[in-house]
């Protein structure tokens, strides 16, 4: 993978995480936005929105540093990928737990995971792939130092 691809990846995901994070925050602050955002499975959750913005910021830092071709850029990208994966897992586990509660102890109310699958989960799929692709290279570079 070339540094340019990594830079582009960091830029795209930095913007995407910020976009979804900001939408979640604004949906909570401006109720009129909540319904259209909900149609895209974006909930009005300012805390989760803040988390997405933090991950997005780390991606954008990575993008800027990678542009200067410094080793620090790789570190930012690697940590951003890790954070995206961690929060993706947190959101996925939360989703599954709510589902398990409904299925096991609910009053027959159906559970449709597709309807509650938020951006924190599906956005993390791409960083997970990035981590798989670049993780070994990155670790190899670190231990080789």
């Amino acid at each position: 993978m070339t540094p340019t691809l990594k830079t582009a990846f960091a830029a795209v995901f930095g913007i995407l995480y910020w976009l979804f994070g900001l939408t979640m925050i604004l949906s909570a602050l401006v109720p009129v936005l909540a319904e259209p955002a909900g149609q895209f499975m974006i909930s009005a959750d300012p805390a989760a929105g803040f988390v997405l913005c933090v991950v997005g910021t780390v991606f954008l830092f990575a993008c800027r540093r990678l542009g200067a071709d410094t080793a620090g850029g790789q570190a930012f990208l690697y940590v951003a990928l890790g954070l995206a994966l961690i929060f993706g897992i947190v959101a996925l586990f939360s989703l599954l737990a709510v589902g398990a509660d409904l299925v096991l102890f609910g009053d027959g109310e159906p559970w449709d995971p597709a309807r509650v699958l938020g951006p924190m989960v599906w956005l993390a799929l791409f960083p997970a792939a990035g981590l798989y692709a670049w993780g070994r290279e990155f670790i190899g570079n670190l231990t080789g130092a």
């Binding site: 989760a48 988390v51 940590v79 959101a91 939360s94 509660d101 231990t143 130092a145």
Partner: protein
């Protein structure tokens, strides 16, 4: 027989005590340093016709005056003037140990370096050129392996040689024009008092004074030079000078290290690189907050099905008991309302507590918590606390008892006292049941966020209190952050589970002990006098509640809440059990929520005010006992209770009266 005295100095965990034990064998004396509770160990060894007294100094990273250990170590060297100081260093961490070397050099004492753990250093390929080191630093170096006793005879022989024959070398690090002028000016004034100059090396004392060392100022007391020196010091900024001097010492180390150890200059490892991001000055705190959010999100979401399962189990038990029609009725009431209701309402929250403890263990085992302390250091310093206080505060999220005990790592007395006093504001696991119950009932759509806000309120109150204490009753300056960062590790599931169990098991014991006792007391008060309706206003609980109610009326709390809060002093979990008993729904969590929602005196504002009150109002009995033990006085333990109640009352009052303006009178 000739006698000489050797002092062993060095960083903590460099094998100093191993060398001391190997040198002195059974010829040891263990006591305390005068006036402090720091252990003093001395012993004797013989080599040739020399009897050598060896004193093991406390392990320190530097010779500033931020901890008792540092003051003890350097005062011994200056006041007792040992013939030689043996500086024991960890050869596998050579660079880190050299900062203390530069400070020992400034003391102007004869030095010998023991390059300990040199076998392990050799295995990792670290090669230290002893002759180059001696050339640059004028300090002889002896390779030792304390655990195997290797090199110890040579160490003693070298120390004896240095003590008897070596000429004394002055070592000086140049601190640059401006600082050197100040050192020279103050040094000259110190030299004008021959008694003072004979006791303390003038250059060393001048450096310490310029670094703002309060202990060094005490050494000036009574000297004719005191006023002149103080006048000169008034023209200097000690913080700036201290930082500049530390920088110069590190510059000297960085410049000389490659010349004495070609393999010691390490390129960045994975931990260093990850730290660039995690401890970044702009990203560090947001990443910390995001990770904390993740921990709380998982704590509440993942626990839900487990809680429901436990709830169903207790509901089934209570129903089976009620339908059995067994007699006597008071025994059935004791089992149903007292034991199943009281203890069950606490057991139900075990999943939350265990998951939170598991996640804190994961963060700790990964090495992140130490970084969190570092990240928060600047903020902590601004409010008057050292970064080290942050770890006990984080542990306080699990339980305040071990958290208060963890303050023992904080050297400064006032720093430690403040950290102890603010720790009960960190929301421990015992408060979680109250939050989960009330947030789940009154804020169902945002329960997780409400609980997160409560934790944040706890942190803010703790910070504000620390600032207040520092400005009023416990003045002073926090010690600078000095802490070894463990490398990042992938935490293993089993280790984290073991840590979780070690800490969480206490809750299970508590449920079977103090909480069961509390539940039985509540049941007794709610049941008697015999024949009254359970938990009614005519019961003893009702009478007690009505007695207390006027105190809580301004907060909108009725007599049932007053009773629950009173018993919450035993353990915070009992608040839920008491509410369950007093609402007559104890065994079923869902029914208790419904009963609270149906109570006209209970609304979202009252619920939130109650949660804030429970968060802040006082430490539980166990925490209070530990505060008394750790501070050594009931004065601070009682202060903690009084201060907590005052803050909780004021904040709850503000919430109750201010909320309607913001929420349109919810």
């Amino acid at each position: 027989m000739k006698k000489i005295r050797i002092a062993l100095a060095g960083n903590p965990n460099v094998g100093k005590s191993t060398i001391f034990n190997a040198l002195t064998g059974s010829r040891q004396h263990v006591g305390n340093w005068p006036g402090v509770t720091v252990e003093k160990k001395s012993g004797y060894a013989r080599i040739g016709d020399h009897e050598i007294e060896i004193v093991d100094l406390p392990g320190t990273y530097s010779l500033t005056a931020y901890s008792v250990d540092e003051v003890v170590a350097r005062d011994y060297i200056i006041d007792e003037k040992p013939d030689v100081v043996v500086h024991v260093v960890d050869a596998t961490n050579f660079e880190r140990n050299l900062y203390l070397t530069t400070q020992l050099m400034e003391l102007g004492v004869p030095l010998v370096m023991a390059l300990n753990m040199s076998d392990m250093a050799g295995k990792t390929g670290t090669i230290i050129n002893r002759s180059s080191f001696k050339k640059f630093f004028e300090i002889p170096v002896v390779r030792t392996v304390g655990s195997k006793g290797e090199g110890l005879n040579e160490l003693l022989r070298t120390a004896v040689f240095e003590a008897e024959t070596s000429p004394h070398h002055e070592h000086a690090i140049g601190y640059g024009d401006a600082i050197e002028r100040s050192i020279s000016g103050i040094g000259t004034v110190i030299s004008s008092d021959p008694a003072l100059a004979a006791r303390y090396p003038p250059r060393w004392l001048a450096i310490r004074l310029l670094e703002g060392d309060g202990n060094a100022k005490e050494k000036l007391r009574g000297s004719p030079a005191e006023l002149k020196v103080l006048a000169l010091l008034e023209q200097c900024d000690p913080d700036q000078i201290e930082a500049a001097m530390a920088d110069r010492r590190y510059e000297v180390i960085a410049a000389l290290l490659p010349q004495v150890c070609t393999t010691c200059v390490k390129e960045m490892n994975s931990s260093d690189i990850i730290d660039q991001v995690i401890t970044n000055r702009y990203l560090g705190i947001p990443i910390f907050l995001a990770l904390m959010w993740g921990a709380f999100q998982l704590t509440f979401a993942v626990a839900t099905p487990f809680m429901t399962a436990i709830d169903e189990l207790f509901a089934y038990s209570a129903t089976a008991l009620a339908e059995s029609g067994a007699e006597p009725s008071w025994l059935m009431s004791l089992l149903g309302n007292g034991i199943i209701g009281g203890v069950g309402s606490v057991i139900i929250f075990l999943p939350n507590i265990f998951i939170l403890l598991f996640l804190l263990s994961l963060l700790e085992d990964s090495g992140y918590l130490a970084r969190a302390a570092f990240v928060m250091d600047r903020l902590m310093y601004a409010i008057g606390l050292p970064g080290k206080s942050f770890i006990p505060m984080l542990i306080g999220f699990g339980c305040n008892v071990p958290a208060i005990m963890a303050t023992r790592t904080i050297e400064d007395k006032n720093d430690r006292l403040i950290t102890i006093l603010i720790n009960p504001f960190m929301s421990c696991g015992a408060r979680l049941p109250v939050f989960v119950l009330l947030a789940g009932a009154f804020f169902p759509a945002n329960a997780g966020n409400v609980v997160f806000v409560l934790y944040v309120i706890g942190i803010i109150v703790a910070i504000a209190s620390a600032w207040l204490f520092r400005k009023t009753i416990l003045p002073g300056k926090p010690a600078p952050f000095l802490m070894e960062m463990p490398p990042y590790r992938l935490p293993t599931f089993l280790t984290s589970v073991r840590h979780m169990w070690d800490r969480g098991y206490m809750y299970i014991r508590k449920a079977g002990g103090i909480i069961l006792a509390g539940a039985l007391i509540v049941w007794f008060l709610a049941t008697f006098p015999y024949g009254v309706e359970y938990g009614s206003a005519d019961s003893y609980a009702g009478m007690l509640g009505h007695l207390l109610q006027p105190l809580f009326a301004p907060l909108g709390f009725d007599w049932k809440i007053a009773v629950a809060l009173l018993f919450g002093f035993i353990a915070k979990e009992i608040v839920v059990g008491s509410l369950g008993a007093l609402y007559g729904t104890g065994e079923d969590e869902g029914t208790l929520s419904a009963a609270l929602l149906a109570d006209p005196s209970f609304g979202p504002v009252t619920a939130f005010a109650l949660m804030v009150f429970v968060l802040l109002y006082m430490p539980c009995v166990a925490a209070l006992a530990v505060i008394r033990k750790e501070t050594g006085s009931w004065k601070w333990a009682l202060f903690s209770v009084g201060y907590g109640i005052t803050v909780a009352y004021i904040l709850a009052l503000v919430i109750v009266h201010a909320a309607p303006f913001f929420a349109g009178g919810i």
